[in-house]
Amino acid sequence: MSNWIEIGLITDIPKLGSRVVNTPEGDIAVFRNAENEVFALRDECPHKKGALSQGIVHGKAVTCPLHNWVIGLDDGEAKGHDKGCAKTHAIRLDGDKVYLNPEPCDNSYS
């Protein structure tokens, strides 16, 4: 778990918004919520692969732009009655700097 990569400053990500990190394995969406917490998910809704980075961010969740599934930012789990899980990535803040682990966490399936 020493695979941290600096990806930019927290101010590069709009509040209640998202930016994308390109990787050879596909895009990772990084989010910033109203409390200035950051999260990272594979940019793919477990339902029909909608780009989660393009959704509306609220609380600790993002709503997928394709069919309005609500996905938890911290655990990638679909909320309500929907079933599915987006891959999560470890992400942390050091001051203003954002560090991302491009390897997905083990607790989520691919």
Binding site: I5, P14, R19, V30, A34, Q54, G55, I56, G80
Partner: protein, 814 residues
């Protein structure tokens, strides 16, 4: 240490409150439940089908004992666990066998007692009520070895009991004190039809009867009933089903203020602030309760206060009612008798067994009774709750909603006749069987729950009525129509109109001011309320409120429609659908340069470049901007397109310059945000080649001027426009267009197209505002033009020049 909640009464009301509480505050309380019946929690309403042999007790259990265990609820159930005292000073509940439980808050849900007429012999063996599992067992037992049953009471419960006993093979007579069955719910005609149907099933009736005595045999068992008119009927089973009385025995014994029921305030709190009460045992603003729908509302309110949110208020509203006798379809709501100021619309076809009566007052529905065909009951109920002005549809409304221009589901028959593999929801491919399975296996009670679990009616919504029918047919009387004005979303109890009023009156200028003022549960809302409130703020404070990009749906954020593979579509504006070789060349160049996979002509007379990658959007827009083109807003809740036909400039039939008119209208209206998408068309003669009469606003040229039509829709529910007015000049057309759009902008709910909006508020009102009243029309139009000053900015240009353009660029590439 956690606070302690003790619930007295393990019935539907109490457990529904606990379920609601667990949803919103699962960790707040240690919960203990006392119940006098030795079961988990069952659906009392479904006892009728159990008696009729259509369901078993297991099938009507809502929560078995495992559920209590799984939720860490202590359950004391059984006759010896009946609560006999509450020590309010020390806050302790004491049961018959001495079991004690301390509480910080107490919930009384003791339900009701069946009312037994105190005639001589009412205490004989073989005289039962119809209230709980024990009563049903007694009746089923009697059906095994007795022959003659008399049911006293021709109300809902009595008829259900009679039907059940008949199904069990008994000879059944229903005794009723007047000559109208179910007189609380039905009028004379419907009651007569119902009686004929039940008589054809072999149930006998004795109407206008007054019971004087129940006679017993030597063993102290009922044997016959005698009446005031001297008649006597053999009867070895007597079922008393003449009503219920709130069970306030315990409440009175512990000195809680009671009248007919335990008196509670709007938060379901009794006179002892630590004690809440709910369900059939309460009295709220003078009213007591027997149907399930209001009790569900009470449960939600009560749970909200137990969870200390402190924002919900209970308001009693009209409820609908359904009889659970298989094959009998009836529906009743509100004031179905009316008074000297009301009027009635009646449809009656005795041969087909269909009767519908809708009672109106001031062009609003105040009540309805239906027999035989109840498909549209929920529609009438919805219009009644919404206070919909029905003057425009009164000539056809009795034929049902399918006759009011619903092309999508005109053939859909009563849901109960559909096979399990019939597709109910075409958008999400949900069959009837899926819906039924979800309802029965997961105990769903409301349309919203069914929608969330099955997705049926979750997309376009045109099958909502059908899904509701399946729900009613499956869940029976437990079905809970939403009673209150619909909240905007799950974050708040406020409706769209409440939110808009608050924004205007309280001068709220941001989402956070709005959510704080209205005490939203979630500080930054959700994907439903954020865009809605953003729109309301844009509409209320033009030029002042700064549009919040993060509250806009992706399409409006990137000025392009997101597609299923996360690519986008780019549509340049062509005013009035007119283009030039130069523009077409520029579009062709862009399509080639960016290898656009598909170029398509849209229904609104534009060219759509489909399959564009997000990274290509900015450079494509730049190229199109450089060639003089701007965004076509084909993606927004906004003015989409003004479609035109050729008109007098070339067409040999054209009476006016429809293309010129269309171009002018589009120049005035482009860029405006509206509650939902807004389409306009202009036709050059009554042949109407631009299909203007199914648009949000349609203009049709005639020799002497222009006809203006509004609120049409060619989508999932085809609706032909209403004729608004006829005008003389092009200036008039522009003024009416601006005024109508502004009125819709100011009053339509977010995501509500003009068609449902006009059906909600009524064409007459719109005419009053902008046809009859010149001053108001001009004022609306002025406000429209004022807001356009800030709205007519080409978003492509803005983004190409750098506004928030980093969102199109990856943060980093690894």
């Amino acid at each position: 240490m956690k606070e302690k909640l003790v619930v007295i009464g393990n019935g539907m009301a109490g457990m529904r409150t606990v379920e609601e509480l667990l949803k919103v505050a699962p960790e707040m309380y240690d919960i203990t439940v006392f119940g006098a019946e030795p079961y988990g929690n069952y659906n009392r309403i479904m006892l009728s089908p159990v008696l009729a042999g259509e369901k078993t007790l297991e099938e009507i259990m809502i929560n078995d004992r495992d559920w209590y265990k799984a939720n860490n609820i202590t359950l004391y159930a059984g006759p010896d666990k009946k609560v006999v005292n509450v020590d309010r000073r020390n806050k302790v509940v004491i049961a018959e066998d001495g079991t004690e439980a301390h509480y910080t808050r107490l919930l009384l849900a003791t339900g009701a007692h069946p009312f037994l007429i105190p005639v001589k012999g009412h205490d004989l063996k073989g005289v039962v009520a119809f209230r709980d599992v024990a009563d049903v067992d007694a009746m089923l037992d009697a059906a095994q070895n007795k022959q003659h049953a008399v049911v006293i009471g021709g109300g809902v419960l009595g008829l259900e009991a009679a039907n059940g006993l008949k199904a069990q093979g008994m000879d059944v007579t229903v005794v009723h004190n007047i000559d109208v069955l179910m007189n609380r719910q039905l009028d004379q005609v419907a009651a007569t039809m119902l009686q004929a149907e039940l008589e054809s099933r072999g149930i006998k009736f004795k109407m206008n009867a007054s019971t004087t005595k129940i006679k017993g045999d030597a063993q102290g068992h009922a044997s016959a009933i005698s009446f005031a008119d001297g008649d006597e009927i053999k009867s070895d089973l007597v079922v008393m089903a003449v009503g219920i009385r709130p069970n306030i025995d315990l409440a009175q014994a512990i000195g809680l203020h009671c009248e007919r029921g335990v008196v509670v305030n709007d938060t379901m709190q009794s006179f002892d602030p630590r004690i809440y009460a709910i369900g059939e045992c309460v009295q709220h603003r003078g009213e007591v309760f027997g149907l399930v729908a209001p009790i569900w509302d009470q449960a939600r309110v009560c749970a909200n206060h137990l969870a200390k949110f402190g924002i919900a208020n209970y308001r009693s509203v009209a409820t609908t009612m359904k009889l659970k006798v298989t094959g009998v379809d009836l529906f009743s709501v509100g004031d179905f008798t009316g008074d000297e100021h009301s009027e009635e619309l009646i449809y009656q076809d005795l041969k087909r067994g269909v009767y519908k009566k809708v009672v109106l007052k001031n062009d609003r529905i105040i009540g309805a009774v239906m027999y035989g065909d109840t498909m549209d009951g929920s529609w009438y109920f919805q219009m009644m709750k919404d206070g919909t002005d029905i003057s425009e549809i009164r000539q056809s409304m009795l034929f049902g909603q399918t006759y009011i221009g619903d092309a999508g589901h005109g053939e859909a028959n009563a849901a109960s006749n559909l096979p399990d593999d019939a597709e109910i929801c075409g958008c999400n491919g949900v069959c009837k069987g899926d819906v039924v399975k979800a309802i029965t296996e997961q105990n769903l009670y409301t349309l919203d729950e069914v929608r969330a679990v099955t997705k049926a009616s979750a997309s376009c919504g045109s099958c909502t009525g059908l899904v509701e029918q399946v729900l009613i047919a499956t869940a029976g009387g437990v079905y809970t129509p939403s009673n209150t004005e619909k909240p905007l979303c799950g974050c708040t109890d406020s409706s769209h109109d409440n939110v808009r009023d608050a924004i205007r009156k309280q001068q709220l200028k941001s989402f956070h001011e709005t959510s704080e003022y209205l005490e939203f549960k979630n500080a930054d809302g959700c994907h439903i309320c954020r865009p809605a409130i953003n729109y309301y703020l844009v509409a209320a404070w033009p030029g002042e409120y700064e549009d919040d990009m993060r509250s806009r749906f992706i399409n409006e954020r990137v000025h392009a429609n997101i597609q299923k593979d996360n690519t986008y579509s780019v549509v340049p504006r062509m005013f009035g659908g007119i283009t030039t070789p130069k523009d077409l060349r520029a579009i062709a160049d862009v399509a080639e340069k960016f290898e656009v996979p598909m170029v398509k002509v849209t229904g609104g007379q534009r060219i759509d470049l489909l399959g564009v990658k997000k990274d290509d959007l900015l450079p494509m827009w730049k190229d199109l901007n450089d060639a003089g083109m701007v965004s076509g807003h084909a993606y927004g809740k906004s003015l989409r397109t003004v479609k035109t036909c050729v008109g007098s400039q070339f067409c040999r039939f054209g009476t006016q310059d429809s293309t010129g008119m269309g171009v002018q209208i589009e120049h005035m209206t482009w860029g405006s945000w509206t509650p939902a998408k807004f389409k306009i068309a202009v036709s050059g003669c009554p042949r109407n080649c631009a299909e203007a009469t199914i648009k949000d606003l349609g203009v049709v040229a005639v020799d002497s001027g222009w006809e203006i039509y509004v609120a049409g829709n060619g989508g999932m529910k085809v609706r032909v426009c209403d004729f608004l007015t006829k005008v003389q000049t092009e200036e008039d057309v522009l003024e009416y267009t601006g005024a109508f759009m502004q009125m819709y902008r100011e009053q339509g709910h977010h995501n509500e197209r003009t068609a449902p909006w006009i059906e909600r508020v009524g064409l007459a009102y719109i005419k009053d505002e902008i046809v009859e009243n010149t001053e108001k029309r001009q004022a609306y139009h002025e406000r429209f033009l004022e807001s356009q000053k800030y709205a007519q900015i080409d978003p492509w240009k803005q983004r190409v020049e750098g506004f928030d353009s980093e969102s199109f660029i990856p943060l980093k590439s690894l």
